[in-house]
């Protein structure tokens, strides 16, 4: 049986790697994705362009402008005579918002009266707008403290403070979060897509029946379809591991063998889902869309795009059976936290359980459909 299985795996691998374009498509796109999306996927807000309507023209507004210019989050501060003009700039997305420094602001601050400044932000980009508003509040709040401190003569030195210590990622580098996540996401896509298309492709080309009349049993054929994507995932993730740690300088603090155990289990779970889809559909087009219909919810409900805690309860249940959600926690644990087997046990166990279910179910379905 082992001999036959090896023969089938060899045949599948040759099939997969024979076409130079297909070979390239296994290597190039994932790497490109890694490079492009690691720079795109940031929730940091940078290069902010802001409209300023300065009706105050006093020391306070000058100080605020000075500090905004000094912050590296801002790229352009455009001065506009009135809010009406600034509004069209917001509509055209030339600026993300407008800060209105009303007349009498400096006088209020010097007299020690509480002052508030209007900030109008583009709600179409509500996420970036909120983060930018937070930056601006901090900067303007600082001006308030120091200006009022100087005016009334109170020492600004605090006698109490909050000390915040960021563990695992002291400078809160966004790439440190993104890249371990991408390792999980990209290997899911490859393992699932390859298996999903494999049977459908043979059905379309008519070679599937030939395989069935060979001495190999349906279970062996199914395993032969499942194993090559595991090998591809293994090679790919090794490549990612090298790039992410050596090129991007993301630390890898966990154990290497745990990494590979997780990758293999995860790829098996993904390939199982892929084979399941492949057994159900007739054409590659359907297989592709089926794979896609599964990939998207997996990716969205994994904690990658948005924290799981933000989701409604019934969706959080889905994240429990989502292999990617467990994989991402394991990857973060291994890369950044140096997590031990003990602290990963829960996620790893669930991943093994999911893989067992998807592989068994897909092989059973395959056998039934093939018979």
């Amino acid at each position: 049986m082992l001999q036959r299985l090896i023969a089938i795996v060899r045949k599948e691998l040759i099939n997969m790697l024979r076409d130079p374009r297909a070979r390239m498509s296994l290597i190039l796109p994932p790497l490109l994705q890694l490079f492009i999306f690691s720079s795109a996927a940031t929730m940091e807000v940078k290069n902010i362009d802001l409209a300023i309507v300065d009706l105050d023209r006093g020391p306070t507004s000058a100080e605020i402008l000075h500090r905004l210019r000094g912050s590296r989050s801002f790229e352009r501060l455009d001065l506009f005579p009135s809010l009406a003009v600034a509004r069209t700039e917001i509509e055209r997305e030339r600026v993300i918002g407008a800060l209105v420094l009303q007349s009498g602001l400096s006088a209020d601050v010097i007299a020690g009266r509480p002052a508030s400044i209007q900030l109008l932000m583009d709600g179409r980009r509500s996420n970036a707008a909120q983060i930018a508003a937070q930056y601006i509040s901090v900067i303007v709040g600082g001006v308030g403290a120091s200006v009022t401190g100087r005016a009334i003569g109170v020492s600004a030195a605090p006698d109490a403070e909050v000390v915040i210590d960021n563990w695992f990622n002291p400078n809160l580098e966004y790439t440190w979060f993104m890249l371990p996540n991408l390792v999980g996401n990209l290997s899911l896509g490859v393992a699932l897509m390859l298996t999903a298309m494999s049977v459908a492709r043979e059905r379309e080309l008519g070679t599937f029946d030939q395989t069935l009349v060979s001495p190999a049993t349906p279970v062996e054929i199914a395993l032969g379809k499942l194993l090559p994507p595991l090998l591809v995932a293994l090679v790919q993730t090794s490549l990612y591991l090298l790039i992410v740690t050596q090129l991007y300088g993301v630390p890898f603090r966990g154990s290497l063998w745990l990494f590979y155990v997780a990758v293999l289990t995860f790829a098996a779970a993904a390939a199982g889902v892929g084979l399941f889809i492949s057994s159900m559909v007739r054409t590659q087009q359907q297989a592709f869309l089926g794979a896609f219909a599964v990939l998207l919810p997996f990716a969205l409900l994994s904690g990658f795009a948005t924290p799981i805690e933000n989701m409604p309860g019934w969706l959080q249940f889905f994240t429990a059976i989502n292999p990617l959600a467990h994989m991402l926690r394991i990857m973060q644990g291994l890369f950044l936290k140096g997590a031990s087997l003990q602290s990963l046990a829960d996620d790893l166990n669930k991943l093994v359980a999911i893989a067992a279910v998807t592989v068994t179910a897909s092989v059973l379905l395959f056998r039934r459909k093939a018979a």
Partner: protein
């Protein structure tokens, strides 16, 4: 003899041939039940997922509190933390236990009120410290935790100052207001973005598989053997998918309006216009991919790479384009989804602001023209 054939007759024949291809393609599309699943079920599923699954509004963060100090001030700060709507506070016995919870990803942060916090707060010489350990593995959440703790801290200091009769100087505050989206609800800006992703999925990915399939099956050569021109083949292949995508767009729009209560401040006609224009580059890209790739697998992968993923990541849907590095901002100029995103967000949230919409429409048409030209030339090469 040929000259005797009038122009109007040739035009009529051209139309008849076109109608024949379109009919053939349309039959092929509608006969397949999966087309309907794609046009209706898939978009709805995605819209639900995007509408409910993705929320960038931060909610409650789990925090572990370690209290080593039992003074009144320590209790007051702990109470302030527990009463805040941003945190779900659990208690850890000591620092080691708190750190373990952080390590095991049970909580996102550990707040430590150190021994003698109360005493130090009263003494003039020493500085009282609250220690916060934050899980930096998720930088966004970490930033929010930082902001929230600081806000609670200044609230605590202010309350303490008031109760002791100090008059605190009030710093300048900033009052943010959000135009077009008064509550800054992330769903309002995510749903138009999800429609763009869904349209890209249908327009680009589905079409990408069309000619690739014909190459694999060898039916494209058969199509070339007919008197059809390249233009007729292109149009005939595209239009049924155009109709399919427009149907699912309509489904999406009505779901968004009725179920998610997305405001529509522009007109429904403008939504239709923008969608139709967007399908030009989206379908063009799909056709180009399928014409360039020989196998469906390769076409599917290229479609994912250059169609779907950029629509997710480079269109301003999830990640703000202005925050990307300059070279990547230039790359986004080629992503039709980027223009669609701004247009839809504008029509839904701001209204029919033509001086915003028209440049975006122009860009979409330009990208579409580029893709159709590329496909055109690609098909010519193949026939030689």
């Amino acid at each position: 003899m040929n000259g005797a054939e009038s122009i109007s007759e040739r035009a009529r024949r051209w139309w008849q041939q076109l109608a024949a291809v379109m009919l053939k393609e349309a039959k092929q599309v509608t006969r397949d039940p999966s087309s309907w699943i794609i046009a209706v079920v898939l978009p709805l599923t995605f819209l639900f997922l995007f509408g409910y699954g993705i929320s960038l509004d931060t909610t409650v963060v789990k925090v572990s509190l370690v209290r080593e100090d039992s003074s009144e001030d320590g209790r007051a700060f702990a109470a302030a933390l527990e009463n805040s709507r941003w945190f779900l506070v659990t208690h850890a016995a000591d620092r080691a236990a708190g750190k373990r919870e952080l390590q095991d990803q049970v909580v996102k942060a550990v707040v430590i009120i150190p021994a003698q916090f109360g005493e130090l707060l009263h003494s003039q010489a020493d500085t009282a410290q609250i220690q916060v350990l934050v899980d930096g593995a998720e930088p966004n959440t970490a930033n929010y935790v930082r902001g929230y703790v600081s806000a609670i801290w200044s609230g605590f200091l202010a309350a303490r100052g008031r109760s002791q009769g100090d008059s605190m100087t009030v710093p300048i505050t900033v009052e943010p207001r959000y135009w077009f989206n008064a509550n800054a609800e992330s769903r309002w800006f995510l749903i138009p973005g999800s429609m763009t992703v869904i349209m890209t999925l249908l327009g680009t990915l589905l079409t990408a598989l069309v000619i690739a399939r014909e190459w694999e099956r060898g039916t494209l050569e058969a199509l070339y053997a007919t008197p059809l021109t390249r233009g007729q083949i292109l149009i005939g292949k595209t239009l049924p998918y155009f109709a399919l995508a427009m149907i699912s767009m309509a489904v999406c729009v009505f779901t968004a309006l009725l179920l998610f209560h997305l405001p529509l401040r522009g007109s429904i006609l403008t939504v239709g216009l923008v969608s139709a224009v967007f399908l030009f580059p989206a379908l063009g890209q799909g056709l180009w991919i399928s014409a360039a790739m020989r196998t469906q697998l390769a076409a599917a992968q290229l479609g994912l790479m250059t169609g779907y993923l950029p629509a997710m990541m480079l269109s301003g849907f999830l990640f703000d384009i202005h925050s990307m590095p300059r070279w990547l901002q230039i790359v986004t100029l080629l992503v039709p989804a980027r223009y669609m995103n701004v247009s839809l967000q504008t029509v839904f949230l701001a209204g029919d602001v033509w001086y915003v919409l028209l440049p975006n429409i122009a860009f979409m048409l330009a990208v579409g023209a580029l893709f159709f030209t590329l496909t055109w030339r690609r098909l010519q090469k193949r026939i030689d």
